[in-house]
C-alpha cells in the first residue's frame, strides 16, 4: 500500500455567484501520508471546508486531480463516488449530524449497514467503537439524551465504523465547550496515534490545530505548510492548568 493516502494536483474550484466566477481554490497541490494528523486552518471563506468537501467526495473540483489511495475521484460519477465516501471516508461534522430517531449504537451501525455488513457483526463493532470513544453504557441513548461532547464522540465512532482511509473532521470542536473541546481533540489525537487513521481536521482554533502533527494554512485559495508549533496544545494546556 502506498505511503500517500491523498494526493491533490492543481486543484481549482470556482463557484458561480450570479454571473461572476468566484475562485475558491486555486491550483492547489497537497500530499498527505497515511496515518498523518493534519489540521487545516485559515480565515473564513478561504476554502477550508470546500477542500474538505472535495476530499470527502461531496463536492466536485472544477479542475485538477484528487487521488485517494491512488484513485482519482475528481471525475468519478455519483454511482462510484458514494462507494468512496462509504468505504474510504469518515466524516465528523461540527453539528454532529446524528440521526435523532436512532440511538447511539444505531447511528454507528448506520454507516456499516450501508456496506451490507450483517446485523450481529454491526452491533458488536458499534459497541466496541462506542467503548473506544468512552461511551460504554450509553449505547441505547438517543442523541437528545446525550451531551454535545457525547454526541460528537458518537459521530467519531460512526466515522471510524468502516475503517476509513481518511477521517475528515470539519470544525469538530466548533459547537463544544472548552472541557469537551479538549476531550474531543485528545480523542482524535489518541485515535490517530493508536489506530493510525489519517485525520484531516478543519479548525479555526489554533489550540486545537496545535494537536495535529501538521498544520496547513489556506489563504486566497492557496495552501501553505506551517511548521508545527513547538508547544503542543497539550503542553499549553498543562501550563494553563499549573498557573
Amino acid at each position: 500500500m502506498s505511503e500517500l493516502v491523498l494526493k491533490i494536483e492543481n486543484l481549482s474550484k470556482t463557484y458561480m455567484l450570479g454571473k461572476r466566477d468566484v475562485r475558491c481554490l486555486c491550483d492547489l497541490n497537497l500530499e498527505i501520508k497515511r496515518g498523518q494528523f493534519v489540521a487545516i486552518m485559515g480565515p473564513s471563506g478561504s476554502g477550508k471546508t470546500t477542500l474538505l468537501n472535495i476530499i470527502g467526495c461531496i463536492d466536485k473540483p472544477t479542475k485538477g486531480k484528487v487521488l485517494i489511495d491512488g484513485v482519482d475521484i475528481a471525475n468519478l460519477p455519483e454511482s462510484q463516488l458514494y462507494k468512496i465516501r462509504r468505504d474510504k471516508i469518515g466524516f465528523v461534522f461540527q453539528s454532529f449530524n446524528l440521526l435523532p430517531y436512532l440511538n447511539a449504537r444505531e447511528n454507528v451501525e448506520l454507516a456499516m449497514e450501508l456496506t451490507g455488513k450483517f446485523k450481529g457483526q454491526r452491533k458488536q463493532r458499534a459497541k466496541d467503537l462506542l467503548a473506544t470513544v468512552g461511551l460504554l453504557g450509553r449505547e441505547e441513548h438517543r442523541p437528545n439524551r446525550l451531551s454535545q461532547g457525547e454526541q460528537q464522540r458518537v459521530a467519531i465512532a460512526r466515522a471510524l465504523a468502516n475503517d476509513p482511509a481518511i477521517i475528515l473532521a470539519d470544525e469538530p470542536t466548533g459547537n463544544l465547550d472548552t472541557q469537551n473541546k479538549h476531550e474531543i481533540v485528545k480523542l482524535l489525537a489518541n485515535l490517530n496515534s493508536t489506530q493510525k487513521t489519517t485525520t484531516i481536521m478543519v479548525t479555526h482554533d489554533e489550540q486545537v490545530a496545535a494537536s495535529a502533527e501538521r498544520i496547513l494554512l489556506i489563504n486566497d485559495g492557496k495552501i501553505q505548510d506551517k511548521q508545527a508549533q513547538k508547544e503542543t496544545f497539550f503542553d499549553n494546556n498543562q501550563k494553563q492548568s499549573s498557573r
Binding site: I58, Y82, R85, D87, F93, P100, A111, E113
Partner: protein, 434 residues
C-alpha cells in the same frame, strides 16, 4: 435497524402530522373502497331491473300475443222467427255451427289451435234476458297455452280447471240471481252444478255461467255445436294471412281479428325497450360518476402523499446530506423515502378499511345515490310495484386486498417524485442547508 425501521421511526416521531395525514388518506381510501361495491350493487340492481322489465315485457307480450293471435269466427247474426201469442216475433240471434263442418280450420297454414266456444243466452218465461251459458273445452294443453279463454277476474273461489265436471263459475250477477256463493249448488237447465268460483266484473261485462263445453252442449241441447271458433295463429305476423285463408275457405264466416291488440303489443314492446334503455343509460351514468369520483379520490390521495413527502424531503435535507456523506447511494435514499410514503399510505389503508367496515355502506349510498327515476336502482316486485333496494357493502377479502393494493400503489406514486428529488440532492448543498 434497517431501512424499514428508519422509515417507521420517521413516521412515528412526527405523530401529529402522521395522524393528520393518515386520517385524510384513510377517509379517501374508505371512499375508494366504497365505490367498487357500490358499482357492483348498482350493476346488480340495474341487471335485476332489466331482467324484471324483460321478463314482464316478455310475459305481457306473450299474453297480448295470445289474444292478438286470436281470430274469432262466427256465423253472421240472423233473425229467428218465433211464434208469439198474438203474432210471430223476430229475434236477432247468433246462429250455431256444427263443429265437424269446420274441422278443416285446423289444416289452414299457421293456425296453432282452433277452440270451439258455446255461448247460449238464457231468458225467463217472458223472454227477458237472464244470463249466458258459456261452454269452454277444459283441455289441459289448451288451458295452459291459451289461458285467456277462461273467465278473468275470479274474486272468490277458483277458476275452471282441466278435467272439471259438474262445476261452474258464476259471474257475480248470476250468483246473486241464483242466491249462491262458492261451494253452493246451482241448478241450470235442470242440472245441478257446484259453484267453484265467482267472477267479478270483467272487461267484457259478461253475465255468464261458465262450465265445460260438453256439459254446456248437453244442457242446452246443442251437442256438437259451437257459437264461436277461436282460431289462434302461430304469431301476430301471421294473423292477416290466416284471416284471409279462413275467409277463402269459409266465406260464410264472419272473421274478426284483434288488430288493435297487435298495435298495443308493439307499443308495449317499445315502451319496455325504452325503459331498458333508460336503465342502461342510468347504469352508464352511475359508472361514469363512479369513475370521476374514483379519479378525484386517487388524485387527492396522490397529492396528499406528494405534498407531505415533498415537505418531509425539504425538512430533512440535512439528514439526506448526512446519509449521502456516510455513503448512502441514490437508490438507498429513493428507497427510504418511497418506503415512508408507502408505509404512510398503507397504514392509512388499514385504518380506511377499519372505518370502511362501519361506514362503507353509508358512504356507498351517499356517493352513488339511487336515481329516483322509475325502473332503475329499484327492483320490480312480483306485484309490479317498484321497491328501492339500498346498496350493502360487505368487506370481502378481495376488497381488503384491493384497498391495501391501492394504498400501496398510491403511496408509491405520490412519493415517487419527492423521493426522486431527495435522491438527486447534491450532498454538498444538502450539508449547507439549514
Amino acid at each position: 435497524m434497517g431501512i424499514l425501521t428508519r422509515a417507521t421511526r420517521n413516521i412515528t416521531r412526527r405523530k401529529t402530522r402522521a395522524l393528520l395525514v393518515i386520517v385524510a388518506l384513510s377517509l379517501a381510501l374508505t371512499m375508494l373502497i366504497s365505490i367498487p361495491p357500490s358499482i357492483t350493487a348498482n350493476q346488480e340492481a340495474a341487471q335485476k331491473t332489466i331482467d324484471s322489465l324483460t321478463a314482464s315485457a316478455e310475459y305481457a307480450n306473450s299474453m297480448v300475443n295470445r289474444v292478438a293471435t286470436e281470430i274469432d269466427c262466427n256465423l253472421p247474426l240472423a233473425f229467428r222467427t218465433d211464434a208469439g201469442p198474438y203474432h210471430n216475433e223476430s229475434v236477432l240471434e247468433q246462429p250455431l255451427m256444427n263443429v265437424t263442418d269446420y274441422s278443416n280450420l285446423t289444416s289452414i297454414p299457421d293456425v296453432a289451435s282452433v277452440i270451439p266456444i258455446l255461448q247460449q243466452n238464457q231468458r225467463d218465461s217472458e223472454g227477458k234476458y237472464l244470463y249466458d251459458v258459456i261452454g269452454i273445452p277444459l283441455d289441459a294443453s289448451l288451458l295452459t297455452n291459451y289461458p285467456t279463454i277462461l273467465p278473468a277476474n275470479i274474486t272468490a273461489g277458483r277458476n275452471l280447471q282441466a278435467g272439471d265436471s259438474g262445476v261452474v263459475v258464476l259471474q257475480e250477477r248470476v250468483a246473486n240471481l241464483f242466491g249462491v256463493g262458492v261451494d253452493g249448488t246451482v241448478n241450470i237447465l235442470g242440472q245441478n252444478f257446484k259453484v267453484v268460483g265467482i267472477q267479478g266484473q270483467d272487461a267484457y261485462n259478461a253475465t255468464a255461467a261458465y262450465m265445460s263445453l260438453d256439459e254446456a252442449q248437453i244442457i242446452t241441447n246443442t251437442t256438437g255445436q259451437a257459437m264461436t271458433f277461436k282460431v289462434f295463429a302461430t304469431s301476430i305476423d301471421n294473423v292477416g294471412t290466416v284471416e284471409n285463408d279462413i275467409k277463402t275457405a269459409y266465406p260464410e264466416l264472419s272473421v274478426i281479428t284483434a288488430k288493435s291488440l297487435i298495435n298495443q303489443a308493439h307499443d308495449m314492446q317499445q315502451r319496455s325497450d325504452e325503459q331498458i334503455q333508460r336503465a342502461q343509460a342510468g347504469m352508464n351514468q352511475i359508472q361514469s360518476t363512479a369513475t370521476v369520483e374514483m379519479g378525484v379520490v386517487i388524485l387527492a390521495d396522490c397529492v396528499i402523499v406528494l405534498f407531505i413527502m415533498l415537505y418531509t424531503v425539504r425538512e430533512r435535507t440535512k439528514e439526506i446530506g448526512t446519509l449521502k456523506a456516510l455513503g448512502a447511494s441514490n437508490k438507498t435514499i429513493l428507497g427510504q423515502f418511497m418506503l415512508e410514503g408507502v408505509l404512510l399510505s398503507l397504514i392509512a389503508g388499514i385504518v380506511g378499511l377499519a372505518i370502511g367496515t362501519f361506514a362503507a355502506t353509508t358512504l356507498a349510498n351517499l356517493l352513488l345515490p339511487y336515481p329516483t327515476d322509475a325502473g332503475f336502482g329499484t327492483v320490480m316486485s312480483e306485484g309490479g310495484i317498484l321497491k328501492a333496494s339500498p346498496i350493502v357493502v360487505t368487506i370481502t377479502p378481495q376488497l381488503i386486498l384491493f384497498g391495501l393494493g391501492v394504498a400501496v400503489l398510491l403511496g408509491a406514486l405520490g412519493s415517487l417524485y419527492p423521493a426522486w428529488r431527495a435522491a438527486r440532492i447534491r450532498p454538498a448543498e444538502a450539508m449547507r442547508y439549514e
